[in-house]
Symmetry: C2
Subunit: 262 residues, 2 copies
Amino acid sequence: MTPADPGALAPARARELFRGGLRTPTAGWCRGWTQANLLAVPRSLAYDLLLFGQRNPAACPVLDVGDPGAFRTEIFGGDLRTDLPGYRVYENGEPVADAAEVTGLWRDDLVAFLIGCSFTFEDALVQAGVPVRHLEAGTNVPMYLTSVKCRPAGALAGPLVVSMRPVPAPLVAEAVRITARYPAVHGAPVHVGDPAEIGVADLARPDFGDPVEVRPGEIPLFWACGVTPQAAVMASGVPFAIGHLPGHMAVTDVRDHRFLVP
Amino acid sequence: MTPADPGALAPARARELFRGGLRTPTAGWCRGWTQANLLAVPRSLAYDLLLFGQRNPAACPVLDVGDPGAFRTEIFGGDLRTDLPGYRVYENGEPVADAAEVTGLWRDDLVAFLIGCSFTFEDALVQAGVPVRHLEAGTNVPMYLTSVKCRPAGALAGPLVVSMRPVPAPLVAEAVRITARYPAVHGAPVHVGDPAEIGVADLARPDFGDPVEVRPGEIPLFWACGVTPQAAVMASGVPFAIGHLPGHMAVTDVRDHRFLVP
């Protein structure tokens, strides 16, 4: 079911597989094409979410916003209700279902936000010789709730969520330098080193995704993660929202290069 | 009334002078401190304006958003109703008054947007040896309505507004390189060369600000301008809004350096 080289697929072909029922994390898929977090909220909450993004640009860099009820946006040529490899549905801040598609739940007042994803800069890391452990392992990236609070916006408040990649100490500066050039997909790490300093108790037990090995001589690097607004949905008791399943991203029709700064 | 060296002033001192009634363009004021465009709109229009910024990031980079009715924001320690050196008031899309302060007009539902301003990168240009003509002349920067359409957002649509600086041909690349590093304050030029290509008929007759001399061997460079959302207010017949008087900016309490990318 999973293709031999998912990195070589075009976005439309990957979305076709997901629409057909393939459920998989998308790290390493469609090399060179931007992946995005999805969060769709009722129009009444859309201003707060857009403002949450403005106030927390590292965690919630808004790449595109749909019109109310629309299931396409400018950068996503597929159908947002079916073309992701996994969805998570929230009611009153609780995750009530993980689903393969959400056609029946897509209300006329839903506004879809596509939010930058750090998978976008992983190809640049690999090209520069920085190993990416979860790509090597073929697993989902580990993600953690932290003790760092986001800046609230209206009805939305919550903790920063981070993704973690262990990097050999001699390559840490290079990993920072490379990812800093992609501010629209989370940019430079928000934390380097001791997980306890940001309230992460145990790297082996991520809140989302899969654990990865941290080898001797490696330093854990933490990047702000686009699951953060889903954590705000939970912390704030938002009545209704639809997100992607963490790590199971929307594969867009724009190139990573668009989000590279000089 | 104008201080001998306005570039050396601290933001709070400049705002005090403006509060006291000094009306002046702020190019060159408070070197190293970020200046911002102001646009305050009713809460009912705030989502459209925030989305307009998301969809037109070169012209409308949103630096900060106030709470409804608030006249301070995180990056602006003064009083937004009195501490700018000039205001423009709009009703039904028409500029109905230019004012020295707007205390009596600041409604409880007004949401203040502070939007990046290209004055922020002018100090970096000067430091690099790129002359900035309106600074040399002590005048306001020239600004032009163009034939380029912004991407609409809800009730807001309108033309791109640009600021223009003539640059000697051998320094054009340097001017592009430097300003590209400040995407949050309009970034690289949106156009280099022939004004007619973006619908500007006569450089000597700017729509806002003052004309400047373009000398032989100089090329006009055009940057997206934060007056663009005021042009959208006019083009869209927005019922009520308060902006700054073009070139008469909000001097904030954050350093230019904050908006420099790697």
